[in-house]
Amino acid sequence: MRAQETDVEGAADFDVAAFTRSAHGNLRDAVDVEAIRVSPREAQLLGILCVLEGATMAHLRNVLVTATHKDARVTAFLVTWAFEKFWVADALSSVSGSGSTPTGSLPGGPVRRATGGILAGRSIVGAHMVAGYLDDLVLDVAYDTVESDAAPPLRELLAVIRGTKSRHTAFFLSEATRRLASDQRSARLAERGIRREAWPIGAPLLDAATRDAFTASVFGGDVRADHAEHVAHAIAVLPGIRARTASELARTLVKGA
């Protein structure tokens, strides 16, 4: 038990209070979402992104049954993170014409997660931060893909979405780095998560065909395979993550889980 109770070393450099105070709500206030016209191909990817961004409660279901819910700083972040992503999904739902944001359950379920969480103790928090970071990295590549031939009105919306998400990414990266550096167990748990879970986090909510379509458009072809390498590299430079884990991740992303 002792080992679990050691506190995280290193100062936290992300200002959670400032983040919560300046949360971005309804994106329709900033962008004329209704006026954006998209191609069928764009609509498909944006619809998929809507599901992936909307997977917050399904993810929190697995996260909050572990020691992560006891970290008041992390939960303060997650409450605002879920709020911002709700409005991101809302805007994506509107431009893609996909209707309401579908929800569902992610694999594992609370019993397995809670049991695993008891064994993992507080080291699991670091692994959850890596999961959030990796999810953001993969979605960022997807946004790159949509943006590459988007017309200006859609570009404007994507810029707002990515601006919102950049603060999430900064938090996850800062927390993951700090926690993995001071706790080997966190790094092992993070690696296990990287290997075992599907990426991005909400992928299991998609049916097989949609998941394949996502993989093909985001990581298909030679150029796009570079994007998987790019994601893997960002993960590989985290403290305690082995090169082997990262290269496996790159292969999985291209292949589709």
Partner: protein
């Protein structure tokens, strides 16, 4: 009446207090009794995520309306915590994330096992369990409104009263959501009614009982819910709960107060300290 989730999400805001003269507390500070109650309320609001966790162990999160509600609700409750913390701050009491964390760590093994128990139970009784959670949520939100209104009444401080009124207004929308969910789900299943009746009667305790010391619970209940006026307010909450399908005649708040030995008659605040 159905709850309009789109309208709720579109109008969900963090409670604001920037226009309120909190500086006035420096000249007219709240007394220690009130500060202790306020600290309790702050902790409860900040710990909403612990209740969310229990709710999420049921299949309820698959319902898009529930998922959308919980997203906004969590954030509103977090800001109730921030607002009350701002008042405490004027009295030299600072609530840090680290302290909240320490409180949650004290929850210990019981807390670690709770999601497992909840989920196993949730799987066994299926969607009927969601009805129980919704009725439980309604009972908690009604209690919250009552607590804030009682505090505003007792304090006679216009700045505090206005802040508590703003918070209670948001709690009223939470009540609307939970009751619309509970009403529909209970009406649809007598099994859900029986389970909910049993769970509330057997396990319900004033909000905060699981995270705060019994001393603190007794303090807050004595402060806000003792005497004739306090007991009247408790009865009102009980009547609201009992108005849900299959929960006729339940009196969980009064029973809880009796269990804690809170005086049921006499003047307000008679037995503080």
């Amino acid at each position: 009446m159905a709850f309009d989730i789109d309208k709720y999400t579109a109008t969900s805001v963090a409670v604001h207090w920037g226009d309120l003269d909190l500086e006035s507390f420096r000249e007219h500070p709240l007394d220690d009794t009130s500060l202790r109650t306020l600290r309790y309320m702050t902790d409860v609001e900040y710990h909403t995520v612990c209740y969310t966790r229990d709710l999420l162990t049921t299949p309820s999160h698959r319902d898009p309306d529930v998922s959308a509600f919980m997203t906004m609700w969590n954030r509103e409750e977090f800001w109730h915590g921030e607002a009350l913390a701002a008042v405490l701050h004027m009295h030299g009491v600072t609530v840090q994330y680290d302290e909240l964390k320490a409180k949650r760590l004290k929850l210990g093994w019981k807390d670690r096992l709770d999601p497992i128990k909840q989920s196993v139970l949730g799987t066994l009784v299926g969607s009927d369990f969601i009805a129980t959670h919704m009725a439980w949520g309604a009972a908690n939100e009604w209690s919250a409104i009552t607590a804030y209104n009682r505090m505003a009444e007792l304090e006679e401080n216009p700045v505090l009263a206005e802040l508590l009124r703003r918070i209670a207004k948001q709690e009223a929308r939470h009540v609307a959501f939970y009751t619309s969910q509970a009403r529909a789900r209970l009406a649809a299943s007598t099994k859900a009614q029986k389970l909910t009746r049993f769970a509330l009667k057997r396990f319900w305790a004033p909000v905060g009982s699981t995270i705060m010391e019994r001393d603190d619970v007794v303090h807050v209940m004595t402060h806000l819910m003792s005497g004739d006026a306090g007991r009247d307010a408790a009865r009102k909450v009980d009547r609201s709960i009992a108005s849900l399908p299959g929960l006729e005649d339940l009196r969980i708040v009064e029973d809880a107060l009796d269990g804690l030995g809170i005086a049921a008659d006499g003047d307000d605040r008679v037995s503080i300290r």
